[in-house]
Point group: C2
Chain length 426, copies 2
Amino acid sequence: MTPTLQDCRERDALEPLRPLRDLFALPEGRIYLDGNSLGATPKATAARMADVVQREWSQELIASWNQAGWVDLPQRLGNQFAPWLGARQGELVFTDTTSINLFKVLSAAARIAAEDGPARRKLLTERSNFPTDLYIAESVCAQHGLELVLLEPEQILGALDDETAIVLLTHVNYRTGAMHDMEGLTAAAHARGIVCVWDLCHSAGAVPIDLHGADADFAVGCGYKYLNGGPGAPAFVWAHPRVVNRCAQPLAGWFGHAAPFRFTPGYAPAEGIDRYLCGTPPILGLSALQCGLDVFSAAELLGGMAALRAKSLALTDLFIALVEQRCAGHGLTLVTPRAHDRRGSQVCFARDGGGACAVVQALIARGVIGDFREGDGGLHQDILRFGFTPLYVGFEEVWHAVEQLRQVLESGEWREARFHQRPKVT
Amino acid sequence: MTPTLQDCRERDALEPLRPLRDLFALPEGRIYLDGNSLGATPKATAARMADVVQREWSQELIASWNQAGWVDLPQRLGNQFAPWLGARQGELVFTDTTSINLFKVLSAAARIAAEDGPARRKLLTERSNFPTDLYIAESVCAQHGLELVLLEPEQILGALDDETAIVLLTHVNYRTGAMHDMEGLTAAAHARGIVCVWDLCHSAGAVPIDLHGADADFAVGCGYKYLNGGPGAPAFVWAHPRVVNRCAQPLAGWFGHAAPFRFTPGYAPAEGIDRYLCGTPPILGLSALQCGLDVFSAAELLGGMAALRAKSLALTDLFIALVEQRCAGHGLTLVTPRAHDRRGSQVCFARDGGGACAVVQALIARGVIGDFREGDGGLHQDILRFGFTPLYVGFEEVWHAVEQLRQVLESGEWREARFHQRPKVT
């Protein structure tokens, strides 16, 4: 039976994470289903930024490096968020960007793999991985004499062989929302002696992650999607204690030095994850990010990741059910896996006969902010993409979003949708 | 004749750049002579950050990538500041950190030099260069099979030979304030076919720089010192049009791609300086930095770099004269060059018999914020370091700073100075 608007309202009323929404400053009259591109703004961020600028920086100036704890903010934020990734204290830092952190860990992974000799000559990844992952992997491969092998997801398990040095996988695919079995793939890779690097951009803060449980080697991820750190927020980097000290990474800046303030002329990498730091930390960005992480600390009190995941699956289940029932006959085909253990926190549909981009534009004009991802003309179709951040998206919003989608499709207004040229910053 | 307090007040009253000080939010009752470590806060920054967080991010969300111009902020800020470096439109971007930008340009320089063959096997730099420069150079050398050669400043010219691939120099030394002859050294290097990389961290915004006039190859520099962009602000990177497209740099992130929003699987570097971008730009940090650059746009109306440089030299001349007259007999020896064409915008003294750190601490306790730099027990002594940012430091402040220094030295109170353990984030 199709859930009704009233059903959705009742679910919101009973929902244990409901108070978290009040921690966000969201625009009136819009339904935001693009938090997997840019997370929403915690209400606390504005006051925090004012304090950093007007007191810590303006009044205390350089003294804030110690007094305000600027100097170890990358580590403190890492420790604050580590439990959400199944990481331990002292293993995670927030710094630089996902692209740069990926360069660091792939370079380290290549150095580690090289110790096994030149037979390990391949880096495997998914063809539909987010492009920056492919570009960085291509660059690291060129530097280390590795071959970059692009695969479809179902080919990966069978491609793991003794010639593989590294497998780089994005846990949740940015287009389809399909989620890999991190533990199973890591175990299969390790059985072949392959170093496993996980990109958690579309899963950190959105789905359960247990890096130690999965025995991963390296992980990186984004601060501006589900972590709500703000546009271009610092990213994170993690390395398993087993591999973290095996080699230095090449971005050997002073904050990754064993004694950064001794000013010795030779580089000596810090022990542990600190060696993955590089230049002076971006204090404004890190301070804003902290407000995003504080929301997770609040969520911990309301059930933590188990509650977030339950709500995320309920939201995406509801969205799928409503679209398939209320928008039937308009050529939409679910792309995201139905199976819970294969689904991230987003839902994508392809549309027969095209028009996916126009439909998304028409929805945005009606105040429902989703996203469009272009296909490649081959295996990967154009898709409508909708992200469901369980911290702030509610069931009633899902109902209204589908109702707007229904109206867009039935009215045909999408055929006249104005195209906003905008970059797709996933 | 020793200038009097009254003389200093009169100079302030007549000084054409005086209105710029009102653009900064500085703490009451303190004299800030450490703007070469962390620049002061422009008054406009607080409102700008509030607007970015509360309107652009919170209310407009992803639409701000286009509507608020987030997507090309690195380039727009680069164009805004380019004239202050003698760079042209489209040649400069603000992104990442100095350390990371240095890695990019040194890697590119190594690739360019390699085209001349394996005979070019050395990277020359100064032993007293800022440590992160040495660490990054060490890493790049290891990757490219180059030998890192550390020299004293007076050895550099004679060391440029046909085996040298790259010379990396910091224009103004972070310890001593000594300034290199950029044009002369670049010409001497080019005569030997050597690629010239300049670190402008302690000179950008403080002294005249003409990258095209000097015919430099690459340059990087800091956003949080004289540019007043805030703690850990994004840094800049520049490449001469002659070399910018000769090769890709290894941090091949999506923002450096020729078509970043086409999401093609293969990397194709953008034309021009855009290829030195990597990950998603840090919008909060860039937005704050813009307020720092806006002060320079205001300075342009009041005489520009000629006026800034004249004031900087007048401030440092005055400080040197007052210290040498009023603090005579306390063992202070000027380390910074007296010659104007060899001096940056800071003044350093060594102290016979030690105690430099304690004197700086005692001064800070009296509200005069200078800095201390430890020596290496050899050629480089412990020093007291004072930065003079002509945008906001006045002549009367110089007088009071020296008077406080005199009292600290004469009273001997520095012998009881409490040591604040604080990292030296230059």
